[in-house]
């Protein structure tokens, strides 16, 4: 890490660093992980910094909150280039590229208004199966409607 970056945010002790987020998407990544900022733990955002790979990128650091690999993989829906660093006692103990999970539950709203998952009165969560990762294509398990990246972004309030 360059000294220039360290001027922006200090290193974290225990937590996760999500790097290589496409520029401008850091807030969406936080929303996707269910982090509003009111939970009390420390969160740092860096937006629109230079990146060798991406031109510009965002970085998110979250301290003191455990996130499972499944949770973190959801980040791939809006930030397919993201890499995750798990930090323990200032050391990177594991590092991986996020991958869209096989099944996505509850997070995305089906765009078909006649789908049973859009019924407020029913105890049901949306469920999508990934049929293609590049380009991203997921299918509602209940009504079969195909959703692409722009549908997912709309559902998550991005764009």
């Amino acid at each position: 890490m360059s000294s220039k970056k360290e001027l922006i945010i200090s290193k974290i002790r225990d937590g996760v660093v999500i790097d290589h987020i496409p520029a401008g998407r850091a807030l969406v990544v936080l929303r996707l992980l269910g982090i509003s900022g009111r939970e009390g733990f420390r969160v740092a955002l860096v937006m629109n910094v230079e990146s060798r790979k991406l031109g510009t990128k965002d970085i998110v650091k979250i301290e003191g909150r455990e996130l499972t690999k499944d949770e973190l993989n959801l980040v791939a829906l809006v930030a397919p280039t993201a890499t995750v660093n798990i930090i323990r006692d200032y050391d990177v103990i594991s590092k991986f590229k996020v991958v869209v999970p096989e099944v996505i539950e509850g997070l995305i709203k089906c765009k078909n208004p006649r789908c049973i998952t859009n019924q407020q009165r029913e105890p049901i969560r949306s469920r999508f199966r990934v049929v293609s990762r590049d380009p991203l294509k997921i299918v509602c398990e209940y009504c079969g409607t195909i959703h692409e990246l722009n549908d997912i972004e709309k559902s998550l309030g991005v764009s």
Binding site: Q119, P123, Y142
Partner: protein, 310 residues
């Protein structure tokens, strides 16, 4: 799937089954044709719940008749009763109630995915009798069965599907069911009612042979089966456009003058005027036989699900 067979199995889409399963069902249905007007007391201890949140006289009565002919009993509701129920209770609670009373539940619902959701809640097997514009698996099984009874084979046939290919739920299920066979599909519809992207991608993924035309005259001479579905007025923003389209897609003697001699015309019924009444008297018209086979086919289905094969 094939290994599990039919016993205690939900019927949500035709894709829950495979070609061998259909063969088991069809041979059972041939046997049931003998009892479709009498009685076979094999489900005396069983109760079937019919949950018709949306009215459908034909499908409901054929399930009810099938259950009664097998010696079983039927409970349930349909139409207005269902709407008053819907005001007070959600689908999940209604299904839980029926699940505690009955050995199997037949559901018809206007929302897509309702049958799958019901099956996740109920312990008893759930049979989808139509949900939204997605699936109507038992109709598709009946359609296939009728074709098989007419030709003794399904592989190799040229099958035209004419009408509303976008919203008619029978089309989706029929095409899915035909994906297990080597058929040539001619899809015939107005531009506005072309199949949805989901169905086109399905056919591509299964390597199905198909084409599309907006004029039935282009393909009528090649067809062994012509399957007709209704085109509904509500689909058209412009009533003049609807009138024009309705005329162009009516199956009449003029269109049939170029048909193969052994062409079979099917229709899930009820029809309005998309098949001209003069066609009823020709040897092409098999839609009444198709409707009649609905009872033995559903007898076979209920027997396999509630009692298993022999």
């Amino acid at each position: 799937m094939g290994l599990l067979g039919w016993f205690n199995h939900d019927v949500i889409t035709v894709l829950d089954f495979n070609r061998e399963d259909f063969e088991v069902l069809f041979s059972e249905a041939v046997n049931m044709e003998k009892y479709a007007k009498s009685r076979l007391d094999i489900l005396n201890d069983k109760v079937l719940a019919l949950a018709f949140f949306e009215p459908s006289t034909r499908t409901r009565l054929s399930f009810e008749t099938a259950m009664l002919r097998l010696g079983g009993r039927v409970i349930g509701f349909s139409g207005t009763e269902a709407t008053s129920m819907a005001k007070g209770e959600n689908l999940a609670d209604t299904i839980r109630m029926l699940d505690s009373y009955a050995n199997a539940i037949v559901i018809r619902h206007s929302l897509e995915g309702a049958a799958k959701f019901a099956a996740e809640i109920a312990e008893s097997p759930v049979i989808n009798a139509g949900d939204g514009s997605q699936n109507h698996p038992t109709q598709a099984m009946l359609d296939l069965y009728t074709i098989w009874r007419e030709f003794n084979i399904i592989d190799g046939l040229s099958i035209g599907i004419l009408g509303d290919l976008k919203y008619a739920r029978v089309v989706n299920s029929l095409v899915q069911a035909l994906s297990y066979y080597k058929v040539k599909l001619h899809l015939i519809s107005p531009e506005l009612l072309k199949p949805r992207r989901e169905l086109l991608e399905f056919m591509n993924s299964r390597g199905m042979v198909y084409d599309w035309t907006d004029d039935p005259h282009n393909v009528i001479g090649d067809l062994d089966v012509l399957y007709v579905v209704r085109i509904q007025r509500e689909r058209f923003p412009d009533p003049i456009e609807y009138e024009r389209v309705k005329g162009a897609y009516r199956v009449d003697l003029k269109l049939l003058s170029r048909a193969k001699p052994n062409l079979v015309i099917l229709h899930p019924l009820p029809r309005v005027d998309e098949v001209d009444f003069t066609v009823d008297n020709t040897h092409y018209a098999k839609y009444f036989r198709q409707a009649g086979l609905g009872v033995p086919l559903r007898m076979a289905l209920l027997k396999l699900i509630l009692k298993g094969g022999d």
